[in-house]
């Protein structure tokens, strides 16, 4: 592990700033452990709800030239079940529990369920393809502030709000999360998208529409992080198309204190964490900087 990429954010020491993004491989505690084994500095669980959910009908994932579309539909075994399986297991790095719900009360209940087994909470306010949850509630700043403040008062753990890019108000929503007491924000979730098979003339995803991830959304993430850095004072976790050291560095310069990798585990391998970490370490050494000094450097002329 490269030592100059070790960092501290949200009061947690991370071996490196690269976290496994929610929804990717983290469906079981064993999957989280595999990501840490492959070099992730921390992990985020699959989004957990109060009840078990099977997710949308298939196809759930389809590739396009510039990334992947998915409409998993938040499959998860339920927060209690997951917490039970995770308890007593040493994942080897900080674990953020991602939770989704329809209202502040449900979020508070979920927070109480997952807090004993997690090191942080990530609020899914941004899944673009599920009814009544995710971006359906994450585009209303007032509601976001209420949810965040209920969650913050229900736990001692750091609370992060994961934001949707499917709005022209991402900074307002980020500010609302900050006012509610969020320790940080995560940007971005997938971009609402769909694809149609031209021969059968049918939408390919079982859910018809889904979210786009991967390299196509990297520049969108860079702008979101850049704008949030201007408007907020809490740390930002950058996510969207991080597959190489260069894509990681760009998000850090835009203002990200930590990063998440999702689609990169499919387009590269699980070893994407180690590769990006090594490239980042090399860059930091060459530039003669500390990682923390790099955050937001693109804002200074």
């Amino acid at each position: 592990m490269a030592s100059n990429t070790t960092t501290e954010v949200f009061g947690l020491r991370l071996e490196n700033p690269l976290l496994l993004a929610s929804g990717v491989v983290g469906t079981t505690p064993g999957g989280l452990k595999s990501a840490v084994g492959a070099g992730a500095g921390g992990v985020v669980t699959k989004s957990l709800g109060l009840e078990a959910r099977e997710g949308h009908s298939s196809p759930n994932v389809v590739g396009v030239d510039c990334g992947y579309l998915n409409a998993m539909g938040l499959p998860n075994p339920g927060a209690e079940y997951f917490a039970d399986e995770l308890s007593g297991m040493d994942v080897g790095a900080p674990v953020f529990a991602s939770i989704f719900a329809e209202d502040p009360d449900q979020f508070a209940r979920l927070t109480e369920i997952v807090s004993p087994v997690a090191d942080g909470i990530e609020l899914n306010l941004s899944c673009p393809h599920a009814e009544k949850v995710g971006s359906a509630i994450g585009t209303d700043p007032e509601l976001v502030e209420k949810i965040v403040s209920r969650v913050v008062s229900s736990t001692d753990l750091p609370v992060l709000a994961k934001l949707t890019p499917n709005t022209d108000r991402i900074v307002d929503i980020g500010r609302a999360a900050e006012s509610g007491g969020a320790d940080g924000v995560v940007a971005i979730n997938t971009v609402a998208a769909m694809t149609i098979d031209i021969k059968t003339r049918r939408p390919i995803l079982g859910n018809v529409t889904g979210g786009l991830s991967g390299r196509a959304i990297h520049p969108i993430a860079v702008k979101a992080v850049y704008d949030l850095y201007e408007g907020l004072s809490v740390p930002i976790v950058g996510v969207g198309g991080v597959e190489t050291p260069e894509t990681a560095i760009e998000l850090i310069l835009a203002g990200a204190s930590a990063l998440q990798i999702g689609t990169g585990v499919a387009t590269r391998e699980l070893s994407v964490f180690r590769e990006v970490d090594e490239g980042l370490a090399e860059f930091i050494a060459e530039e003669g900087l500390e990682l923390e000094e790099m955050v937001g450097l693109a804002h200074h002329k």
């Binding site: 990717v24 079981t28 999957g31 759930n60 997951f82 694809t195």
Partner: protein, 259 residues
């Protein structure tokens, strides 16, 4: 990425293999170059997508052998020559090339990838096959495998019981060092134990719920191992590291369920 979008193919022929199993053949150069043990995602528009092992190839045509298990596989069973289906893949890691005389142990529709394996390698090395099924009618690819031993759960053909009950005797009278297996997990777990006891090498093709096929979604995890991307074929050392193999699988929501 772009390769992970379904290619629409015309069904070239269909064939009934047993009362619950059919084979379809498609012109699809990408999957026709697959390694035996790899699979593809087959998409029936407006119905859904399922992971199916490649069961054979002929030129640039690929065959898929499908057990009727749910709505989507039932729709595939209804397809006729000329109908359209989507295919993406091949995915995953397949079987290694056999280096010497080897044994194939198959059960139920799990013999599908082993049929392709046999088709690819039976001219180069000697392959002895042991096949089990629920009933005589469900024994698959008997003509191609020309199996040494067959078994049926109901005793309607061959040994009355599980194929693993006769595997040990068969191995005791031979000096094979390598076994390739696919089929119900309890069967493969028994084959694994036999290989451990006798010091034999083994490759097994695992089955889990797969939703993405590309190592993203985590539906197919077994002890944190991505069956769709880093499997489905695994060797004995890999199986040694699993606590869930032979015991637990996962439902669509990620809950554990007895194998």
């Amino acid at each position: 990425m772009g390769n992970d979008k379904p290619r629409i193919r015309e069904v070239n022929l269909t064939r009934e293999e047993s009362p619950s199993v059919r084979t379809i053949r498609l012109y699809d150069p990408r999957t026709s170059n697959a390694t035996p043990g790899q699979f593809a995602m087959l998409w029936v528009p407006d119905s859904g997508e399922v992971p199916i092992a490649i069961s054979g190839t002929q030129g640039e045509y690929s065959e898929f052998t499908i057990k009727r298990r749910g709505e989507i596989t039932a729709e595939i069973h209804e397809l006729e020559a000329g109908d359209k289906i989507g295919v993406r893949g091949p995915y995953g890691v397949g079987f290694s090339r056999p280096e010497g005389p080897s044994v194939i142990v198959g059960g139920g529709y799990g013999v599908a990838p082993l049929r392709y394996f046999h088709q690819r390698h039976s001219r180069d090395v000697s392959l002895e096959t042991l096949v089990g099924a629920a009933t005589a009618a469900e024994l698959l690819f008997v003509d191609q495998f020309n199996p040494q031993i067959v078994s049926t759960d109901d005793g309607s053909k061959g040994h009355h019981g599980f194929i693993t009950e006769v595997l040990e005797d068969f191995l005791a009278q031979s000096d094979f060092e390598m076994i390739y297996t696919a089929g119900p997990e309890p069967m493969m777990a028994k084959v694994y134990q036999i290989c451990k006891t006798r010091g034999l090498k083994l490759e097994a093709s695992l089955e889990r719920i797969m939703k993405c096929g590309v190592g993203l979604c985590g539906s197919c995890l077994i002890d944190g191992f991505r069956v769709c991307k880093d499997g489905p074929v695994v060797d004995l050392d890999r199986l040694d590291g699993f606590s869930e193999f032979g015991r637990w699988t996962r439902t669509s929501s990620g809950k554990k369920e007895r194998v």
